[in-house]
């Protein structure tokens, strides 16, 4: 049971992998994916609600701050996401997530800001428990998934369409595959994560654009100083290749590489409730051309785990206790008589 809890706590730290914010090339919703979780055991359900604030403002060219632009822009968003995972069998877990932007704002001092809001895209994932050994404390979980462009993509204000960067949806299907590996030791665990994402071409009446492919590689260090508290330190490298636009033209000022440091604190409450807080801090940034770079992000997540097998067992035990109690009472009544 502790092992499961520990893996769930590790999983909580793996939720966040934010797509870096570049001025005109931001995909719909943040990449807050269950994909990084280990597969769940059979008949276990996890449901979580996350909140995330992200902030960007500095322009970068290559790996240096770019300060020559005659204006200042700030981009920020407030985002929440509901995520549900269910272990259909011990080897297959299905997961889904759906986000909502309270705002996705691009603002320039002295000028009215652009503000998008609304539903983000719906993600569906299948996660496999390829290998799991409690003796070795080793798990290996590959995942495949798809993000459906169900969110708002053609939002207008006063009949003027907002720029793509503040639209809540990515506007196209995104396919992803990843692999999660975790190795536990006594009080610590080490985990690795590798992910690939392919974004389909956005081809509509007004848009023709294809985001570059994204690769993520992350290393996690997980330490449990007390029974209910877990500290996670994550180093993550995100790379996105350049985008394409009409006539297969490569968008030179697109694509980036960012290395994040993500510290996280998680607490396991009674009755399988978990709370975690974490921050994404970029340590190294490289942007092709001139682009607005990712600033920082703060996130909170509340997770509830329901073990249906344990619930059923508890229910059966209660029933047998009641019937046992009934028999005892009958016996006692008979003795009294």
């Amino acid at each position: 049971m502790y092992r499961r809890k520990k893996y769930l706590l590790i999983a909580l730290c793996l939720f966040i992998a934010e797509r870096a914010f570049s001025q005109c090339c931001t995909l719909g919703d943040p990449f807050i994916s269950d994909a990084e979780q280990p597969a769940l055991q059979s008949k276990i359900l996890t449901a979580s609600l996350a909140y995330r604030y992200s902030h960007s403002g500095k322009y970068y060219s290559d790996d240096s701050r770019f300060t020559e632009l005659p204006f200042q822009e700030i981009a920020y968003s407030n985002y929440t996401e509901l995520q549900v995972g269910y272990g259909i069998t011990n080897w297959l877990t299905v997961m889904t997530d759906l986000g909502y932007f309270f705002n996705k704002t691009l603002t320039t001092p002295g000028i009215d800001s652009y503000k998008g809001y609304g539903l983000g895209d719906l993600g569906l994932y299948a996660k496999f428990n390829a290998f799991s050994s409690s003796r070795l404390k080793l798990t290996l979980s590959p995942t495949i998934g798809v993000k459906f462009p169900t969110g708002v993509f053609d939002q207008e204000v006063d009949n003027v369409q907002l720029p793509i960067s503040v639209q809540p949806s990515a506007g196209s299907y995104c396919y992803l595959a990843n692999l999660f590996v975790s190795k536990g030791f006594r009080k610590i665990a080490l985990a690795g994560f590798a992910s690939y994402e392919y974004s389909q071409l956005i081809q509509s009446e007004n848009f023709y654009y294809k985001y570059g492919d994204q690769w993520i590689a992350a290393l996690y260090f997980n330490y449990r100083p007390w029974k209910r508290v877990t500290i996670d330190l994550q180093v993550r490298n995100e790379y996105r290749s350049k985008s394409n636009r009409e006539n297969e033209e490569i968008v030179e000022a697109s694509g980036y590489e960012v290395v994040f440091f993500t510290p996280q604190l998680s607490y396991a409450f009674k009755h399988d409730w978990y709370v975690s807080a974490y921050a994404d801090i970029p340590m190294y940034k490289y942007y092709n051309g001139i682009q607005m770079s990712f600033g920082y992000a703060l996130s909170f997540r509340v997770t509830k785990k329901i073990d249906f097998i344990a619930l059923k067992a508890r229910h059966s035990a209660n029933q047998s206790n009641k019937s046992e109690l009934g028999v005892n009472m009958e016996l006692s009544n008979e003795l009294k008589q």
Binding site: F71, T150, V160, S243, V251, E252, A253
Partner: protein, 117 residues
């Protein structure tokens, strides 16, 4: 298990509900006389003003840029684009009223930003 079916049902409804907007009917009562810009080509991060002149009654105006940003509304808007929007960009102006709508496009080339220092 019922909860899972309920969740799947909600998601299906969301997918079905997020269908595209229907196009409006074309109108013979509206005519776009001109669609012009003040600067073309425009340097990245700089601005050009796009103006539409149209005839018809109770007209409303809609704007879409395939790359870049539009600020303002009505008959005249400001268009700007960042470095990643370099190239030939299309700005579509939609003029509409209760009888229908017409639209026209203007192409604006965005050139790379360069320091003026």
């Amino acid at each position: 298990m019922k909860r899972i079916y309920l969740l799947l049902g909600i998601m299906t409804a969301l997918i079905v509900g997020c269908s595209k907007k229907e196009n409006s009917n074309p109108s013979a009562e509206i005519k776009i006389v001109s669609l012009t810009e003040t600067v073309n080509p425009v340097i990245a991060y700089d601005t050009t003003i796009i103006t539409v002149v149209a005839t018809g009654e109770n007209l409303k105006y809609g704007w879409v840029a395939n790359h870049g940003k539009i600020k303002g509304s009505g008959t005249s808007v400001k268009y700007s684009a960042c470095q990643s929007c370099r190239g030939m960009n299309t700005i579509t102006c939609r003029v509409f009223n209760e009888t229908g709508e017409v639209s026209d496009t203007i192409m604006i080339r965005v050139t790379p930003w360069h320091s003026t220092k």
